[in-house]
Amino acid sequence: MNLTTDLETILTASVPLTVPLLFAGLGEYVAQRAGTFNLSVEGMMLGSAFAAAYGATESGSPIVGLLCGIGAALLIAFVHGNLSHRLQLNTYVVGLSLNVLVLGVTNYLLSTTALDIPGGSAWRIPLLSDLPIVGKAFFVQPWVVYLLVPLLLLIWWVRRRRMGLELRAAGDDPVAGDLTGIDVNARRRQALLFCGFCAGIGGAYLSVFQAGSFTSGMTAGRGYIVIAAVIFGGWMLRGVIGACFVFGVAQGLQLALPAIGYTASPQLLAATPYLLALASLAVLGARSKRPLALGQPFAPVR
């Protein structure tokens, strides 16, 4: 068979599946570095996907949909942040119950509303989109995909500022951070809000820009894949990005392999993220770069 067309098929199937993972993955990376093991990223994506679909239906504009999605995800992040970093409720419990709550609310609202999402067209980046193999996959996409670039630049820039240092301090050593005058819980809440913002774009992309519809539980565990990506990426920015691509390709292969005449167990491919994350945890053990205070509540005692 023709290798270049096969590669192109795989890439065009994989990139749209990688994009939501990347958006949410960037957010989850920031939240985890600041010390929140954010399980509610699944709920953020799902809530955003529904709100975006609803907003786009009502206004007829994908941009309004995107904003609604971001707003819904920010709301979930706000609730999570205040419950776990103001009232000190355990973050795992809050995350799990928020996920159940959001699944219930979206299913409920879905059966009481009719959705009709306006379609959008893909942006064709001149010159780059004519490249062989990668051109069609990477450079002919809905415009929202290219928000990844400013988002990445923002994270890369913030990491080198005082803010980035403070966020990492909140995740690695909240006591020392608190002693130097950092408001640890405020930093953690801000990191969660940023995660909500990113996951919101990811969720809106899923429903409005990719599928053009909203179905019950449409994130289908993508939030948990994102968590696996942060773990497999070793809590490093480039690692997380790489992991999102690997997991996106694993999903894409489920679609692309039958098309180019191969068979592989779809279940095995779907299990890849979790297997890889578990394996990397087991191999690295205690030597991983996990933020030292990950998942621990912090109550300043003054």
């Binding site: 355990n90 219930g104 205070a293």
Partner: protein, 397 residues
């Protein structure tokens, strides 16, 4: 002392070091703080009961509020929920059927959390239990009296083994159980889908029900392997509920009175002391985690043979998550878990009537999730008030 401040905001006792000799900090250590705070505030005082009822109704009203906001009468919703769960003897049967697997999961979660091990992968262990029971139900030929106990044993073994994997990673490689048990949930889902689709051994190859041969599902459970019911005062009490209730009573007794249960609680409350008096964290901790998985597995068997009668990709249907949340909202107390499992069961059973009035059933999930969040709040709010008061005193001084 300085490192301990971050771990335990609420509790009065000294911070327990995480068991297993792993790092002193990280997700599992955080859970130790949570569990200590949950235990610290469980006293059978009248205020506790009042706060419980108060926040329970707060959770329910959040759900009703959503219904009201979308144009449904809260009175009708509440009426349906009562009617469908305790309206007549058949409804009570539905309630108990729905409550049984939830209670089994919650009881298991109580065991491992009392031992200070935060296993949150019950959803996956339920799935494995359903798989284990499925292998017995579809491959062992015999009378019900043989097949049913065997299925429960296989389910418990499968669920326990799946949870034990997480314990192995914890005590062998220092991976936090919170993380590994969560990841194992999604592996379990894919394992189940693989087994019941295509060439999988549990796939329905035809002669079964709708979609036979193509859809990812198992054959129907044969009549003889369906769980029997026991007639009590005209109510058909499902066998699984009796089993779950007995398990809850036994576990409550075990934790409060048995020697091994006492050692388990020491491990959970203060691993340092436990180590000093010769309790092996890795041995007892792994056992507790495996036991919790076994209970979740048994819940999987109860679902397969008492509710769904068929394996399909979503057979665990959030019962693992909800059971875990019940145990947490019940502050790891087996008795309160029974109560909450009944409340959750009532929601599921009552939800059946909502559809007839044009109200989407999913409002039930909203209500249960709101109840959990509401029930977690009282001790935390109390601690927040206490902290604020403390800060004010310091300022005055």
């Amino acid at each position: 002392m300085s490192t301990e401040v971050s771990e335990t905001p609420v509790q009065e006792e000294p911070t327990p070091a995480p068991p297993g000799g792993g790092s002193r900090r990280g997700p599992d250590a955080a859970m130790a703080g949570l569990l200590a705070s949950l235990r610290g505030s469980t006293r059978p005082a009248i205020e506790q009961v009042l706060a419980f009822l108060c926040f329970l109704s707060l959770g329910i009203s959040v759900g009703l509020l959503l219904g009201w906001a979308t144009g449904h009468d809260p009175g009708v919703i509440l009426g349906d929920l009562f009617e469908g769960s305790i309206g007549d003897s058949i409804s009570i049967g539905y309630l108990l059927t729905a409550a049984a697997p939830l209670l089994l999961v919650a009881v298991g979660a109580v065991i491992c959390m009392r031992a200070g091990q935060f296993n949150i992968g019950q959803e996956g262990q339920v799935t494995l239990g359903a798989i284990g029971a499925g292998f017995v139900v579809f491959f062992v030929d015999g009378p019900g009296i043989v097949v049913i106990p065997l299925a429960f044993l296989a389910a418990a073994a499968a669920g326990g083994a799946w949870a034990f994997l997480a314990a192995l990673l914890k005590f062998g490689r220092g991976v936090d159980i919170v993380v590994s048990s969560l990841l194992l949930v999604f592996l379990a889902e894919q394992l189940l889908t693989g087994l019941i689709s295509g060439d999988g051994p549990l796939h329905d190859k035809g002669g079964g029900t709708l979609g036979a041969g193509t859809a990812s599902q198992s054959p129907r459970v044969p009549e003889k392997a369906m769980l029997p019911t026991i007639d009590v005062l005209g109510v058909a009490v499902p066998f699984a509920f009796v089993l779950a209730l007995v398990a809850a009573i036994l576990v409550a007794w075990f934790l409060s009175s048995a020697h091994a249960g006492y050692r388990l609680r020491i491990l959970g409350q203060n691993p340092t002391v436990a180590g000093t008096i010769g309790i092996s964290a890795s041995r007892l901790g792994s056992l507790a985690v495996a036991a919790s998985g076994a209970f979740a597995g048994a819940a999987g068997a109860a679902i397969l043979m008492g509710q769904s009668f068929q394996l399909n990709p979503g057979v665990a249907s959030s019962i693992g998550w909800n059971g875990l949340l019940i145990a947490l909202a019940a502050r790891t107390n087996a008795g309160v878990s029974v109560l909450l499992a009944l409340v959750f069961g009532a929601m599921v059973a009552g939800g059946g009537l909502l559809g007839g009035d044009g109200i989407p059933v999913d409002i039930v999930n909203v209500i249960t999730a709101a109840i959990v969040v509401a029930l977690l709040c009282p001790p935390v709010l109390l601690a927040a008030v206490r902290r604020r008061r403390l800060r004010r005193t310091v300022k005055v001084a």
